[in-house]
């Protein structure tokens, strides 16, 4: 059937080769892998836990404390590692939840069209029209600052982006002959969506979700700065960098290290997203939307 051909048009091996040709993306993947592995593995062997209160208060970076300490004597290195873990957990949860909801929502809208489409997409428009940061602040202020609640709030405001992308793809696929053929052969809607529509959607969704990963980290940082994000004693990169925004000139180690990791992670994720997009769609060398 032509549907399978449509998928076969981009065999994984070629996709991988194209991705590998995108050097910044490959470099980013390496860097990101190192950061992630380090964030989860190093704390197992590092001499301080993020919660340890050492007698060294506010000391600059040294061999004992590579990233220095804060006024309670928390080891900033251990805290940054923990912050990376938490920030990654938040962004991955956001990506998963909004990826899932957005895909289902967009597929339904695109596949059924008409009134269903109209209703579903107007809801999307509404969510997209709400200024993300502002509404997230309102919502997050109502929660108690648990990391997963912050993540859910961010998901609630970003799934619509994915829904819109998915709907676009589904609309273009829906009218193809192989769908007609499948329907003529008696396939159920659900089956058609699962076997024909979803595979075509995977690519664009992956790209959008990748970008969401970095948006989520940045949004969490902004929320923390305004005081509506993750709350101590929990630790996230956003919380670390916002708690130390007063320390730029006095205890710079507290401000620059977590900030640097936010940039590195977000940058790497964006490059990977770019690489994926080019690999999936080499002709359309187009950015976003």
């Amino acid at each position: 059937m032509r549907g399978t051909q449509l998928q076969r048009r981009r065999p994984p091996r070629r996709l991988v080769r194209r991705f590998l040709a995108h050097r910044p993306a490959v470099a980013s993947l390496v860097v990101l892998t190192i950061v992630v592995v380090a964030a989860f593995a190093v704390p197992l062997v590092w001499q301080y836990s993020y919660a340890d209160i050492t007698p060294d208060s506010s000391v600059p970076p040294s061999l004992d404390h590579p990233f220095g300490t804060d006024n309670l004597g928390h080891d900033a290195f251990a805290q940054v590692l923990r912050g990376i873990q938490r920030s990654l957990e938040i962004s991955v949860l956001v990506a998963l939840v909004s990826g899932l909801v957005g895909t289902v929502w967009g597929s339904l809208a695109g596949y059924y069209g008409g009134r269903v489409d109209s209703l579903l997409m107007r809801t999307c428009d509404l969510v997209l029209t709400l200024p993300l940061l502002a509404v997230a602040a309102v919502l997050a202020n109502a929660t108690s600052g648990s990391w997963w609640l912050v993540a859910l709030v961010l998901s609630a405001l970003s799934w619509a982006l994915i829904a819109r992308v998915v709907r676009g793809v589904v609309l273009s696929v829906r009218e193809k002959e192989f769908i007609e053929a499948a329907r003529a052969l008696g396939s159920t809607d659900l089956r058609i969506i699962a076997t024909h529509v979803v595979p075509n959607v995977v690519g664009p969704v992956t790209v959008t979700v990748t970008i969401l990963l970095s948006t989520a980290i940045l949004a969490e940082t902004a929320l923390s700065y305004l005081g509506f994000g993750v709350q101590a004693p929990d630790v996230s990169l956003g919380l670390l960098v916002s708690a130390s925004s007063t320390a730029v000139s006095t205890r710079p180690w507290l401000f620059y290290f977590p900030g640097l990791f936010i940039i590195v992670i977000a940058l790497a994720v964006n490059f990977i997203g770019d690489g994926l997009r080019e690999a999936l769609d080499p002709k359309q060398n187009r950015v976003r939307r």
Binding site: A51, I53, S57, S58, N71, L72, G73, N141, S144, G145, G227, F228, Q231, A232, P233, D234, A243, S244, S245, T246, A247, S249, T250, R251
Partner: protein, 533 residues
């Protein structure tokens, strides 16, 4: 004056930083008594008595010629107002102002008035004027030993009359809850008057040429609103403001220290930080557990890691009622093991009280496990967050789990009763009995949360002594009663005093005669001035 004035020239504009947006202009109103409004009202509203930087209380000799207790039964105070004392529009300051200020702060005279503090006014029987209004006689129906606290930051009665008829409770409420609240003051009884309230929330004040006191040195003081204390040192460094008065912190101090041409003062504030245990919680009703908790907490260590980070002179607070440096201050708590940081002693206390599971999962003598203790912490207060972590760490070795709950509003938890441990700040003043009666008197029976008795602490012996101290005309007797109350409170292990808060003032060295003070730096605004070269 306490400090001698430095040589300054006349003229110039100083910019002072306020942190809270002004949402209510009436400093006597419950919603108006914020730092920003107090700062500004010092320039506008005269007081009968002034609290000096050292906490002593002296009569305001610009406003009053004399204030004397002329009779003890019934207690009667006679105030003689300076003949030339007048508001900026020329209206004399007289008995009508005293009457208005009493009536709006006495719930019996104005039930609907949203007064910040009724203490004392609710014991006044009559206020009468004579001698053309320049003599005021105040008669009490219940004696009030701290009468010097009354008639502070006076509002003008003749302006009130333009907002509502001051002869009726409803009219008084209208002027007090609306008129003075919503309208930026155009009047003044102090060295400056408000010229404009700008759209960015700042306030421009200029010299009040009609003031009866010594002419101010500065032409104008601008109050610039910078809501984030962290941004204030930058503004000072960049020359956009001349004076900042933020809540202190480590980085703030270091930033200020690095600025050329800026001096600062860090001094104890009339505010205390306490740790409260919730007496409504079943587990905490056992004194042994409370004693063990207070014994396990290392208070010197906590002070060193929090407030000590920016003020190395900070010491643990040892007294429940009195501030360090005041005559009544004494160490009531060290002998009782408060803040000893002695985990072994704390374990012994628990052991002899019949607790089990010490060091793992604490179980009360009756076999009931001690539940996790919830500690709500304000999202906005980094010092509180740090303290919570230290307390959590100190109690872990006993087998007590502290669940630190970040909360946008710990007060909500306080009212809902969803807490077991809380640290908070309470304001104190030289008028010890007035303030502490609200903090340590029993709540009415059956009430679980009443005003500022945070812990729902109740001890009838303490109640007796606090109200006795407020009513006795004899200062020595009052002191004796307060000290007894202090001892009783300490022995009950309900509130652990942590430390005295700090005021932090930083200013350009080109400015002189500016200093930290009990009643805020603007208390002597007329003396501020730029140094002569």
């Amino acid at each position: 004056m306490v400090n001698s004035a430095a040589a300054v020239k006349s003229g110039g504009t100083a910019t002072y930083t306020i942190t809270l947006p002004i949402t209510n202009w009436n400093v006597l109103n419950a919603g108006g008594a914020t730092y920003s409004v107090i700062d500004i009202s010092n320039l506008l509203e005269p007081s009968a008595y002034l609290v000096q930087p050292d906490g002593s209380v002296v009569m305001n000799d610009q406003l009053l010629k004399s204030a004397t207790e002329v009779k003890s039964d019934p207690q009667t105070i006679k105030y003689e107002i300076n003949p030339n004392a007048k508001w900026s529009d020329g209206t004399p300051i007289d008995a009508s102002d005293f009457i208005y200020n009493w009536q709006v702060q006495d719930p019996r005279q104005c039930p609907a008035c949203a007064m910040a503090l009724a203490a004392g006014y609710d014991r006044i029987k009559t206020v009468t004027g004579s001698n053309g209004g320049k003599t005021v006689t105040v008669v009490f129906d219940t004696p009030f030993s701290e009468w010097q606290s009354l008639f502070s930051t006076l509002l003008p009665a003749h302006v009130a009359a333009t907002y509502g008829p001051v002869g009726t409770p409803a009219g008084r409420a209208k002027s007090f809850n609306e008129g003075f609240v919503k309208n930026p003051p155009k009047w003044s009884g102090g060295p400056f008057r408000v010229d404009q309230f700008t759209s960015d929330g700042s306030v421009v004040t200029v010299r009040n040429d009609n003031w009866y006191g010594p002419r101010s040195n500065l032409d104008s003081i601008v109050f610039r609103l910078i809501t984030d204390p962290a941004e204030q040192p930058t503004a000072l460094r960049n020359g956009e403001v001349d004076v900042i008065f933020p809540t202190p912190g480590v980085d703030l101090l270091k930033q200020v220290q690095a600025i050329d041409g800026v001096a600062y003062q860090m001094s104890p504030a009339p505010q205390v930080r306490d740790l409260y245990l919730n007496m409504n919680a079943d587990a905490l009703k056992d004194k042994a557990l409370r004693q063990a908790i207070f014994t396990a907490i290392d208070l010197p260590g906590l002070v060193k890691k929090t407030i000590g980070q920016f003020d190395p002179t900070a010491k643990p607070l040892k007294d429940h009622l009195f501030l360090p440096g005041t005559p009544g201050y004494a160490d009531d708590v060290t002998a009782l093991g408060y803040g000893a940081g002695d985990a072994a002693a704390a374990k012994d206390i628990l052991k002899s009280a019949g607790y089990s599971g010490i060091g793992t999962k604490l179980v009360a003598p009756g076999g009931k496990a001690v539940p996790e203790l919830r500690m709500p912490v304000s999202n906005a207060n980094s010092l509180a967050k740090d303290e919570a972590q230290l307390i959590k760490a100190a109690l872990a070795p006993l087998g007590i789990t502290v669940a630190v709950k970040p909360s946008p509003n710990p007060l909500g938890n306080l009212q809902d009763g969803t807490w077991e441990i809380l640290d908070g700040t309470l304001g104190e003043s030289p008028f010890v009995a007035s303030m502490n009666q609200a903090y340590y008197s029993s709540c009415p029976t059956g009430v679980k949360f009443c005003n500022f008795n945070v812990s729902n602490y109740g001890n009838s012996e303490v109640d007796k002594r606090l109200s006795g101290a407020l009513s006795t005309p004899d200062p020595a007797k009052a002191m004796q009663l307060l000290k007894e109350a202090n001892g009783l409170i300490a022995a009950d292990y309900v509130v652990l005093p942590l430390y005295q808060q700090r005021y932090f003032l930083a200013y350009k060295t080109s400015l002189a005669n500016i200093r930290n003070a009990y009643s805020f730096p603007t208390y002597n605004s007329e003396q501020w001035g730029f140094r002569k070269e």
